[in-house]
Point group: C2
Chain length 419, copies 2
């Protein structure tokens, strides 16, 4: 019988050891390994697809839902996207070793801050096997060892992909324990992993709110998380109505199931009569169900009342709650009370209000005259995204490669002692 | 009977509310309040000293140790240091609102990162009442509301100081719940505080390892911590011997009871015969007890053997363990294995080794040719220090005002929607 607790602990110790060595590997060596991984995934296409079939067969036997099976399925296109992702991450600048600032002290010491890897990162995710590639590539590029724990439904796909990545590591200057997939589907494996705060520096859960809450509840290791995105757009009195319609439609309809989609629309009372009927028509044509406050229901006939619960809701669906507010102050207060500190946008022509909104709303992403859908690591120019944090410590908002590093102080002296 | 749980929770909710308002207060208003606090502490000198007397009287009745009573005692000089601290923090640049970088995306969006306060910070500390002033000032300046929980032995001093600071807040544009001291000395108050992760963003414990471990074990809120500082100096083969003696003496003797004092000296075998007898003589004259590895004991007569446990030890005393190593590689491995990721220094004339040490040692502060005692927020030019972190998430090493903030993305658009 395999001792799961012991095996997982050994994996974490190996990862810690690998992370020390990986932190010293050159950017060129890391990039070469990532490019090679892309090639090898293409080369071993049949192997990956046949292992994925095993997962799909047992998923169907277990009666998993169609969307879950869809997320689980690896197609030729998904392989190409994985390969493209590896090549793009290879092309990104290496954050490790970057000296972000340096200054001279009065006693002559030259003090700087240099970026270094966090160490060991644990990724806990659900069915999508592409996370095995994406998360591994981001961790390797930023000098971190990674321990992956996917869902039991994708275990064969994940192990197949990991074995290909590990083969590349073995033939490179990188330590081969830099990427490890936990081969046990038992719950005990996660429970053990989340206690290993001596070896693991950070846990990133990727999945639904339930998964994230379960991880946070158990973990002794810091967890980067966002439970939900209740994103707001505030259409100010002076908004350009066409721009507002365009942006609100994009934010609600383009991809309603994601965390940066708009869930609540706040409309200034002065513009409501002109704006609300138009946006409602556009959204309703796109299949959106609108719920409104009392005043909204006077402007729009035949819509349901939004309840207190609605203002807190992340629908992730073609549903929108709408509130008419008398001022930007009330809009900001509403966001503060009901928001999830994820992403909010103001549509306005008023300079002072644009500045107030940017300064006073302390969500992780605050926009003026743009869609909330831009709250995404790639769209903001971070190059890639490992996740989005709505807690303020360490990282806040979309996280790219830099957020997988920390800084140490480096100090050049010539004999200084403290007085 | 007072419901402690309910009262502490109310304090945290008030703090959260205050933090929203405080994040919008101008730098000028915050600085004016800090300067006024300095004046008022001077003005209310008699009140503070008489409340401190109450604490001292009961401390003596309880038979507290002389060093504890010393830390608890407020003298005129301590008041002057507090006042000076407030004025210095007022003079520091405000980190809030600083845009650290800004870039244009291909679609025209202008994306920036702006520093914002963390929110609510809980400080848990032992006897020194000056922390009440220092921590409050740093939190206020960085736009954070603070909840302070000092030791029961200093409760009257802390409440007296806090009441003066709060009076200043009440007569300023700052929210008066921005500074609160928990008035209960019961353990239940801390237990409650550490569960309030919906209201409090960060806990900073200031005190001994025992206090910190107890806080970490209980807290649902992220804790910035350092358990200990096992700091190393590696005297390389090419070190300037006089410089090495000077720096090692400073690092061991100047203030042995602090976390950035040297605890282990690593000496390259080639320089050991010339260097060891000299440094040993100097340190022994200063009262330092030296323990050594086998090879060290061949160079130095009449010293004890260092045990495995010694290499892990933070003595915080005039004790030093010494090991002779054959190469920089073994020095780096030793630090990796036994170190606490706090502060390490290399003394060398060799350019390549200086670079290797700076790059390969991933402690929070790494120095070349300077004393480990410089690992301190003020000495490094951060202006002030709220603590030192030896965990890598959020902050690593000495923490100043910037480390009490996080960043949000701010985005200027002109109608962009996502394709």
């Amino acid at each position: 019988m395999i001792d799961i607790h012991k095996s997982v602990k050994k994996m974490a110790e190996d990862a810690l050891d690998a992370s020390h060595r990986l932190s010293r590997v050159s950017t060129n060596a890391k990039n070469a390994a990532l490019l090679r991984m892309a090639d090898e995934i293409g080369w071993h296409r049949d192997f990956i697809l046949s292992e994925n079939k095993r997962d799909l067969t047992s998923a169907k036997e277990k009666g998993l839902s169609a969307p879950m099976i869809d997320r689980l399925t690896i197609k030729d296109d998904s392989l190409k996207v994985m390969m493209q992702g590896l090549r793009e991450i290879a092309a990104l600048p290496d954050p490790v070793g970057k000296v972000t600032s340096m200054w001279r002290r009065p006693n002559g010491l030259l003090v700087g801050r240099m970026r270094i890897p966090l160490g060991v990162i644990g990724i806990i995710y659900e069915s999508r096997p592409n996370v095995t590639v994406d998360a591994s590539a981001l961790c390797i590029k930023s000098g971190n060892a990674v321990i992956l724990r996917g869902g039991s439904e994708s275990i064969h796909s994940n192990l197949a992909i990991a074995s290909i990545l590990q083969d590349v590591l073995r033939e490179s200057p990188l330590p081969d324990k830099a990427i490890q997939v936990i081969p046990f589907t038992d719950r005990e494996a996660v429970t053990t992993l989340l206690q290993l705060d001596e070896q693991i520096d950070l846990i990133i859960p990727r999945g639904g709110e339930e998964l994230i809450r379960a991880v946070v509840a158990q973990s002794k290791i810091p967890v980067i998380k966002h439970y939900k995105g209740v994103c707001h757009i505030f259409v100010d009195a002076t908004a350009d109505i066409n721009m507002a319609i365009n942006i609100c439609t994009n934010a609600k309809v383009q991809r309603p199931g994601v965390c940066n989609a708009m869930e609540t629309l706040l409309v200034h009372a002065d513009i409501a009569p002109a704006f609300l009927p138009k946006i409602a028509e556009k959204l309703q044509k796109a299949g959106v169900l609108i719920k409104g406050c009392e005043k909204t229901r006077k402007n729009l006939k035949n819509i349901d009342a939004a309840t207190e619960e609605d203002w807190y809701s992340e629908y992730l669906d073609l549903i929108l709650s709408v509130r008419i507010v008398p001022s930007i102050d009330v809009a900001v207060e509403h966001i503060e009370k009901y928001g999830s500190m994820h992403t909010e946008s103001i549509i306005t022509k008023d300079y002072a209000n644009s500045q107030r909104f940017l300064n006073e709303v302390n969500s992780s992403t605050v926009l003026v005259n743009a869609s909330t859908r831009f709250s995404d690591g790639f769209e903001l120019g971070l190059g890639a995204e490992i996740g989005i944090s709505t807690t303020k410590l360490h990282a806040f908002g979309p996280m790219g490669l830099e957020e997988l590093t920390t800084s140490k102080f480096i100090i050049y002296g010539d004999g200084q002692v403290r007085k």
